[in-house]
């Protein structure tokens, strides 16, 4: 039995984590020709985790229409960012104001839990989308 937002016990990853790790959604492998309204980069290769997020925004509705990402990180980091990208683009796209408050807890809950020692992986996704939104707002408002 999996705790929705906590440690998943003896079984390291939930089925949802596994699904997003093996088939990540919205991955961007080559950003050379990709046009984005906002970019966020967090982490450091020296520290082991690095993540980049590219968003496009509908200026009329202030909703995120596209969220692409790439990370150098572990399975949890890949799954967390993949899930984050789904959450901010599903159902017509998340309002920027709402996406700013997309917490690590919300990402972990949708993943069906992460071990506490992997909590920082969801923090990276949370920070990367914040950085991308900030970049968008600084350049479009």
């Amino acid at each position: 039995m999996t705790d929705k937002t906590g440690d998943v016990g003896t079984w390291l990853y939930s089925e949802t984590v596994r699904e997003h790790f093996f088939a990540p959604k919205n991955l961007l492998l080559d950003e050379a020709t990709h046009k984005a309204d906002g970019v966020g980069v967090v982490g450091s290769p020296a520290c082991g985790d690095m993540m980049a997020v590219w968003i496009n925004v509908d200026p009329k509705t202030a909703r995120i229409t596209e969220c692409k990402w790439r990370t150098f990180g572990c399975a949890s980091a890949i799954a967390s960012t993949s899930m984050m990208s789904v959450m901010v683009t599903e159902n017509g796209g998340m309002l920027l104001s709402r996406a700013k408050r997309l917490t690590p807890e919300a990402i972990i809950e949708r993943l069906g839990g992460l071990p506490d020692r992997k909590y920082h992986c969801s923090v990276l996704g949370h920070l990367a989308i914040r950085e991308a939104i900030q970049d968008y707002e600084e350049n479009h408002e």
Partner: protein, 230 residues
């Protein structure tokens, strides 16, 4: 470790039996710009923690130093706690998004243990710049001896404080002797008119976040900051 600086330790203050506040400046005496709620990452390259560890800034912007308040619980934090005035420490620029963006809402802060640190900064800043804003602080700790900033924050007449102690229950005159529950928060604030900030351990933040959601609080009015290691 981009954008790192050597910071100079200006002062050190013992807050309780295992927690100290370290006042820092840049080497030239300036304070880097920051917003209440932000943190710095600290690096000791000689220790086996290349990613460093993060510590919230505990004083408001505008002072002569910026402070981090550190609970000595392991090799890294004890090393930090052992610094003396005049020592240098490698750290990042202030960073993070754990701050209010809706000034018209009440501020409700929920701190687990040393999670009180960013709230001291935010409370003092708000009292100066938005003194009419209603502030309610919930602080949880194991014992009264573990409370940090209690004397200062409970003396602020414009801040409503609620304390919860999970051990050594007879040691505090005003504390509720059990774990804090989300219902305690809801019944002691105006939930429909509040912005909620939670800071503490991963389980503490998770439980309170989930509890507030279960009480119908919208996710975009809950901001979280949990302690973690890589």
């Amino acid at each position: 470790m981009n954008d790192t600086h050597h910071y100079l330790v200006r002062e050190k203050k013992q807050e309780n039996y295992d927690t100290v506040t370290i006042s820092l400046t840049c080497e030239n005496g300036t304070v880097p710009p920051f917003v209440s709620g932000q943190f710095i990452s600290v690096y000791f390259p000689e220790l086996s923690t290349p990613e460093g560890k993060s510590y919230s800034i505990s004083n408001p912007p505008g002072e002569m130093t910026f402070n981090i308040t550190v609970k000595g619980i392991g090799e890294f934090s004890n090393r930090l706690c052992s610094l003396k005035p005049g020592d240098k420490v490698l750290g990042s620029l202030p960073y993070g998004y754990f701050y209010s963006e809706q000034d018209d809402l009440d501020l409700v802060m929920i701190a687990g243990g040393i999670g009180i640190t960013p709230f001291r900064s935010a409370i003092l800043h708000t009292l100066t710049h938005n003194p009419d804003r209603k502030i309610t602080l919930f602080q949880s700790a194991k014992t009264a001896a573990d409370l940090v900033f209690e004397d200062e924050l409970s003396s602020l007449s414009r801040v409503e404080t609620h304390y919860f102690l999970t051990k050594d229950l007879a040691s505090h005159r005003n504390a509720t002797p059990r774990r804090i529950q989300s219902g305690d928060i809801i019944t002691n604030c105006r939930p429909e008119h509040a912005e909620f900030f939670i800071c503490g351990s991963i389980p503490f933040v998770r439980d309170i976040w989930r509890g507030l959601k279960d009480h119908g609080i919208a996710e975009d009015r809950i901001c979280t900051e949990a302690f973690f290691s890589h």
